[in-house]
Symmetry: C2
Subunit: 284 residues, 2 copies
Amino acid sequence: MRLIDEAEAERLYGLMGPGHEISGGSAANTIAGIAALGVPAGFIGKVRDDQLGAVFAHDIRAAGVEYATDAAADGASTARCLILVTPDGQRTMNTFLGASQGLNPSDLDAAQIARAEVIYLEGYLWDPPAAKEAFMAAIQIAHRQANKVALTLSDSFCVARYRDEFLELVPNHIDILFANEAEIKALTGTDDFDAAVAWARDACDIVAITRSEKGRSSSRATKRTSFWPSRACMWSTPPAPATCSPPASSPGWPRACRLRRAGAWASSARRRSSAIWVPAPRPT
Amino acid sequence: MRLIDEAEAERLYGLMGPGHEISGGSAANTIAGIAALGVPAGFIGKVRDDQLGAVFAHDIRAAGVEYATDAAADGASTARCLILVTPDGQRTMNTFLGASQGLNPSDLDAAQIARAEVIYLEGYLWDPPAAKEAFMAAIQIAHRQANKVALTLSDSFCVARYRDEFLELVPNHIDILFANEAEIKALTGTDDFDAAVAWARDACDIVAITRSEKGRSSSRATKRTSFWPSRACMWSTPPAPATCSPPASSPGWPRACRLRRAGAWASSARRRSSAIWVPAPRPT
């Protein structure tokens, strides 16, 4: 993933072939996936009051997600990621963070956050000071309700930029940690994967680490690196908020199961969804 | 196809699930297809100066099509078609014509039109008087150069609205006519398909009629209704205009062949592209 500014986004777009515009974003995709499984879910994130912002707001609400953050009336346009796929199937993601960086504490609906059994934070938003402030305010609201706080480390460059702050944040405020191998190594400053995982297990209640092709390629890897066996549930279903209309049933969703089974299910679902959605490479 | 106004487009969009935004439109898709085959091509059509208009302009240029029509600075927003796909694979297309109806004679580049061996007109644009005026001006430029004028009848409702005008237009100004069975019957005012085709053959040099599942289901149907045997070429390659960068080679394109072979090739290509691009129905 490469972060770009608006000028570079325009330059690169001018060089790209015809595209498909699809709403997305790391955290938004996660929440849309959770909503698709029938779990009531909300999203807090900033777009501009432009057409692509309206498309994003439509799509995430149409996915059954409660979304009420006001669109910015000025400043950078709605964030976008220009994704290039080479014939070997590899993606290059060029991300202009745009209006999403304008998130600030006034965008939080304390009652909405208090209703959530789990809040899920996207590490990328640690960059802008006001968004970081919003994160800390949301964490306080969640913990006052004895609810869980989940964080994804987002990418290893993000971790490298804020390593000291994340080393304070994770053990003290995060209950559920998502990372890949590079990110957890970057955070702990070690190349020893087992040591990095041991640190994370001490720091958080639940740690979910993905390892691409190594992740679930052997039962040992499954047990040690994918989802840790536990009697806790990954997510359970809180009472539906009044404004949210999730699907009435969700036959595919393991509502209450051990983490190892949830991990296996998630890996399988991810593989299947990747197989469906990776765009076909364009002929050169 | 159902024509809708902007209010209905907004209402319907609010009820739809998450979408994919893809540039398109009947004539634009045709021209993008021709450009993909390596034939230099240009497009004249109107968008608003909004984000979706910019996306359309990017996509059609990135497809190798020369596109220089100024975006409208006011008035209706860029046209869109809200396409719903039911689980049986049937599409419902709801089209808001928007800014595209603002096309007028001042949008024509006479030199660009004069360069084109064939100009292709979209019947839908017979609705707005200024666009109709632009059509007639373009036809005059083409015929002054002894170039060909092609028309697609677009849909049977469009034909019904302007039947008398089309009955004057087609035999006097159109060299190549595209229609489906319902459209050619609506134009000629008969339910006798053979009589309708006989009229069209008298009226135009080349007639291409599609009949869905009947179109190429038997050799007799192929010979009579798909593309008429002739020694003429469907399209040939004019010198590339300076601003157009088509692919250097196009192995799939029958550059010069009899019409019957071109018709068979087009039917086959259409079947394959439909199989690829029909969106998967959403679960209900």
